[in-house]
């Protein structure tokens, strides 16, 4: 599978609708300090099922554009990831914040969270395995885990 587009709707500093892509084999996200690069990473992590505490917010509703200054522009925010599969068909995963809870859709159909994560796992995506997202400032710690933590990592991956 190949990640082609990320669509964000009122997610953190992205007001309204923004489409990022088409993404290539090696894509670089650039911009000044404080412009919203790590917010884009939070968007991708969110749609892949990452928990709120790793998205630098306390509550799901803090992810809505404007929440950082207590003026959320909407009750909702959403992120959609569009994958191109081996057979060249598209598959879309969408996760949204509605009030204080989050909803999950695959190709527009609402699904349960466990279905959503199971389908992602079929593509090889498992956020608990911590094997594809490296947050800002966290790269060195991957090498410096203690032996027990490393066993737990292998446990999750296998």
């Amino acid at each position: 599978a190949f990640l082609k587009y990320i669509d964000m709707e009122n997610f953190k500093s992205y007001r309204g609708h923004h489409r990022i892509g088409p993404l290539k084999s090696f894509t670089a996200v650039v911009g000044p300090n404080g412009s919203g690069k790590s917010n884009f990473m939070d968007a991708v992590s969110f749609v892949m099922g990452e928990k709120t505490s790793l998205l630098r917010v306390k509550r799901l509703s803090d992810l809505i554009h404007g929440a950082s200054i207590n003026k959320p522009v909407s009750r909702n925010a959403s992120v959609t990831a569009t994958f191109i599969l081996e057979d060249m068909t598209e598959k879309q995963f969408q996760r949204s914040v509605v009030g204080q809870s989050s909803e999950h859709r695959i190709d527009g159909q609402s699904v349960s969270i466990s279905n959503y994560l199971a389908e992602l796992e079929k593509l090889g995506i498992n956020v608990k395995a911590k094997n594809f997202l490296v947050f800002q400032g966290a790269v060195e710690s991957i090498a410096m885990k203690n032996p027990k933590e490393r066993t737990a990592l292998f446990e999750e991956i296998s």
Partner: protein
Amino acid sequence: RHDKFIDCFEHVANEIDAIYKALAMNQSAQAFLGPENPEEPYLDGINYNCVAPGKRFQPMSNLSGGEKTVAALALLFAIHSYQPAPFFLLDEIDAALDNTNIGKVASYIRSKRGSLQTIVISLKEEFYGCSDALVGICSEPADCLVSDVITLSLEDYDD
């Protein structure tokens, strides 16, 4: 359950050294994963050790900031070879790297483009200049931060 663990561990342990050598572009670099309990590795810890190019064996805590970053990336790519996620997203992993190591990491990523999609966030031209496409993020003045996005493909330009 234990078979899967051993299968995964042995695969990654076999791959890590070659990946570290490729990342460091130096055959004298070494990396190895060793279980504290070789009979039943899932019961105890797993040690990770790297010998930086041109140096001798020493504890990982002695490595410098840049050396730790390269060791971490080797482990990440080795794990990926067992259980390939479709893409990587790496936020300023080049912060502690000097320009030589940035060049090595960038060319490793480029060499794996066939089997691995990578998205990096970077402030350093030496790193993002090696990508196929740039996503530029800028902010407009407003009450709170409002980000805007511009996408630019680099494939059309020569180096």
